[in-house]
């Protein structure tokens, strides 16, 4: 088992309460930062730690913090993005549910570093019970003097609020989140200006993922040097992976970045191998938005090097033979999975969640879903496969926010790697009538079969 910075104390009974959390070294980092470090020191520390945004894009957090407009005399805000809605990702819920004080401590230190006097946690509406846990924890923190006026006798004051969304995936996009937080329709803004200049209420704002903020106390605690030691190259520290799908042990795992993907899937410490003794077919490595990879490409890169759980290694080979670490939603599919059906499910999600503001995404996501529905149910034409590739290409890059890209990438990659399966659905409509068509008899590539014989 590797180092556990976030989930180290997860098994301690009652760790969600203030007393137990404090007894196990909680809020020490907040105390250290507020009493012994200046704001710039904390920012430098985070910069040096190499911490990267854990929400999906992997942008260096310290750099994001330093973009914040410090000259402006407007108030500054820190917003925690807890609108975790990516299919396959459930790490933030686990973290907030079990360790609410870790997030609050992270919010205190980060707000201190950024000079924010009011901070928000924007949580998705479906996590209402988590919101109650957080609100209870916030009250405890107020009572213990870690929130409110003049925290620990310093001149730093902070008010922390939890705000529930109303159930929209798009509100995980940072500008849509800010619109929603302001009480408007959750529509992404046109950038520039970026939130660091004009974010919440047109004031300088930083939006960070739950896990990113929860990693800050540990960086302050153990020092950036030690945090930096974990991981490979520009991927430092640990990352929570939400493992789901056809594996023996699904769940949230904290891994040291740099762990080989093969070890993560097959080792008993983590996923414990593919269930029912079946073989691996494909993996979506970072939540539904990232390109899907077939078994041969997820375990080894196109160059034949072992694939590691790092931002760089997973994206090795670009979108031709690589993927992304994304938010860490690790979806494993065994040989009985129908890629077309899986893709149709994803497309249905993006169609449902598109905000409808810009035309390529509004019209394109619905079109892709309808075509995929047709193919999956045996009513497709051969030309539909190329049509899908073309629609995906025309959405990608032409939209206001990344949801368009997120809808296009899975389609483009699935057809790139599993084209034969799409063609099979068109060629043999009677064989795919049963919704569980590959369950009894897994799909075998004709090309491969010919090569074997």
């Amino acid at each position: 088992m590797g180092k556990q910075f976030l989930l180290g104390n997860i098994k301690v009974p009652g760790i969600h309460t203030y007393d137990v959390y404090r007894k196990h070294g909680g809020y020490n980092a907040a105390e250290k930062a507020l009493k012994t470090q200046t704001r710039d020191q904390v920012i430098e520390e985070v910069k040096f730690s190499g911490l990267r945004g854990r929400g999906g894009a992997g942008f260096p957090s310290g750099m994001k913090w330093s973009f914040l407009d410090q000259k402006s005399d407007k108030p500054r805000y820190l917003v925690c993005n807890a609108d975790e809605s990516e299919p396959g990702t459930f790490k933030d819920r686990f973290l907030m549910e079990k360790l609410p004080h870790l997030l609050i401590e992270g919010m205190i230190i980060s707000s201190y570093a950024l000079g924010a006097k009011t901070s928000y946690i924007y949580i998705r509406g479906e996590y209402m019970y988590v919101l109650r846990i957080l609100e209870k924890a916030i009250l405890e923190a107020y009572a213990a003097g870690f929130l409110g006026k003049n925290i620990l006798g310093t001149d730093f004051s902070l008010d922390l609020y939890v705000h529930p969304g109303a159930g929209a995936y798009i509100c995980g996009e940072e500008t849509a989140l800010l619109e929603s937080l302001e009480g408007k329709r959750g529509l992404p803004r046109l950038k520039p200006p970026f939130p660091a200049i004009a974010g919440l209420y047109a004031c300088p704002t930083v939006v960070n993922n739950v896990e990113t903020i929860a990693s800050v106390p540990c960086i302050v605690n153990i020092s950036a040097d030690l945090y930096n030691d974990i991981g490979i190259g520009k991927s430092t520290g640990t990352k929570l992976i939400s493992a789901s799908g056809h594996i023996n042990k699904p769940g949230v795992y904290e891994i040291e970045l740099g762990l080989p993907v093969e070890e993560f899937i097959y080792s008993d410490e983590y996923c414990g191998g593919i269930w029912k003794g079946r073989s691996l077919k494909a993996v979506v490595a970072g939540g539904s938005s990232v390109p899907i990879l077939p078994a041969n490409l997820i375990l080894k890169t196109a160059k034949g090097e072992p694939r590691l759980m790092t931002y760089e290694s997973l994206s090795d080979g670009g979108f031709v033979s690589g993927s992304m670490l994304g938010s860490g939603g690790f979806i494993v599919m065994d040989e009985t999975t129908c890629i077309v059906r899986n893709l149709w499910t994803f497309a249905r999600f993006y169609h449902h969640e598109s905000c409808g503001q810009c035309s390529p995404c509004r019209e394109g996501t619905g079109w892709m879903e309808k075509v995929l529905h047709r193919i999956e149910h045996g009513h497709g034409h051969m030309s539909d496969v190329d049509l899908l590739v073309d629609i995906a290409k025309k959405i990608e890059g032409n939209t206001i926010c990344p949801l368009g890209d997120a809808a296009a990438w899975p389609v483009a990659s699935a057809i790139r790697h599993f084209r034969e399966e799409f063609e099979y659905h068109v060629k043999y409509p009677e064989k795919v009538k049963d919704p569980k068509h590959f369950e009894k008899e897994p799909f075998v590539s004709e090309k491969l079969e010919r090569a074997v014989h």
């Binding site: 598109s354 810009c358 035309s359 019209e363 025309k394 939209t399």
Partner: protein, 332 residues
């Protein structure tokens, strides 16, 4: 001031001007089309994505190209920026695809649509679209709602440009309609039926780029190219009173605000002028409205030709063709 090069033509514009407006100052074929941007409405634009352009050089200070195509209506120019509009095949491809996206759920009921002949989407599709559709699915439909006695809403034709909500927000004193729902299910709607009734609400009709919002008093009266448009004005306390009368013989079929060459209204008119004065004697007629010769409305439409104006137009065309020849795609 910032120097910007669009399709090989250099122009100096005020700081903060958008690429689209800089291109409009040059004029000609390089001007990106716009379906949602409206120069007289603040915050409009950025949604339809037909005005995408390629920024080949960000600025003189930072000459890197921008990674994605940019919405020209909302991207301000920088000094030394190099923009490709019609000279970039990538941009033309993107425009074509946006037209396709806009049309897949559009009912294409132009033969019975009052907007036909003066419809931005029709013009856009003629210029950038393809003649065939690849969409064989069912088109989306909406439940019909009645938003008021003056304006007819056809939600199936709507392309969700949000212009009408900006009009209601910025020109009327009370917005009672808005976009509800999400994704391709979002629609224009009112909280209370028949609620749109305001002194300036009629301008929603003029800003609508398609036939989603049309004049109920003009409904099915005549095809627009069978009418005779006249410039006219009257003394109005609420608005400028400068309008276009769409007449047939002595009858005034419709009154609308005057639009410029990009089909945009600069001076909005009030509902009284629009709906309540449909008699020629209420107006001081200035003369025939200038209609672009490319428009279908120009058929049988005779204007007194202004030789000076014509010469100017010809000179501008020649100047533009020169610019085209100098563009990077046409080195000869």
């Amino acid at each position: 001031m910032a120097k910007v090069t669009i399709d090989g033509i250099e122009i100096e514009v005020q700081d903060g001007t958008t690429i689209l407006n800089a291109a409009r100052q040059i004029g000609g074929d390089s001007v990106p089309p716009a379906m949602c941007y409206y120069s007289s409405l603040k915050d409009s634009g950025g949604k339809c994505r037909v005005c995408l352009v390629k920024v080949a050089q960000g600025s003189a200070k930072d000459p890197r190209p921008m990674p994605k195509l940019m919405a020209s209506c909302r991207t301000p120019v920088m000094d030394g920026m190099v923009v490709q509009s019609i000279t970039s095949p990538e941009v033309l491809e993107a425009r074509k695809s946006v037209v396709e996206f806009l049309l897949i759920n559009h009912p294409l009921d132009c033969p019975i649509c009052d907007q036909a002949g003066e419809c931005d989407l029709q013009n856009l599709a003629y210029k950038h679209g393809v003649g065939q559709t690849r969409y064989e699915e069912e088109k989306r439909t909406f439940e019909k709602i009645d938003i008021g006695d003056k304006i007819k809403l056809h939600m199936t034709r709507c392309i969700l440009c949000y212009r009408c909500t900006f009009v209601a927000n910025q020109i009327t004193d009370n917005r009672v309609h808005g976009i509800i729902g999400r994704g391709d299910a979002s629609e224009i709607s009112t909280y209370i039926q028949k609620a749109v009734d305001n002194d300036f609400s009629g301008n929603m009709i003029d800003v609508c780029p398609v036939g989603a919002l049309t004049d109920k008093t003009f409904r099915f009266k005549s095809r627009v190219w069978f009418t005779n448009p006249l410039d006219a004005h009257r003394d109005c306390k609420k608005c400028s009173g400068k309008v276009v009368l769409w007449t047939k013989g002595e009858e005034v079929l419709r009154v609308s605000a005057r639009t410029d060459q990009y089909n945009e209204v600069k001076e909005f008119i009030c509902n009284e002028c629009r709906f309540d004065h449909k008699i020629k004697s209420d107006w001081i007629i200035e003369g025939p409205r200038h209609i672009d010769r490319h428009s279908v409305i120009a058929q049988n439409h005779y204007e007194k030709s202004d030789l000076q104006k014509l010469k100017k137009e010809i000179d501008r065309q020649i100047e533009f063709e020169k610019g085209k020849l100098l563009s990077p795609n046409n080195p000869g």
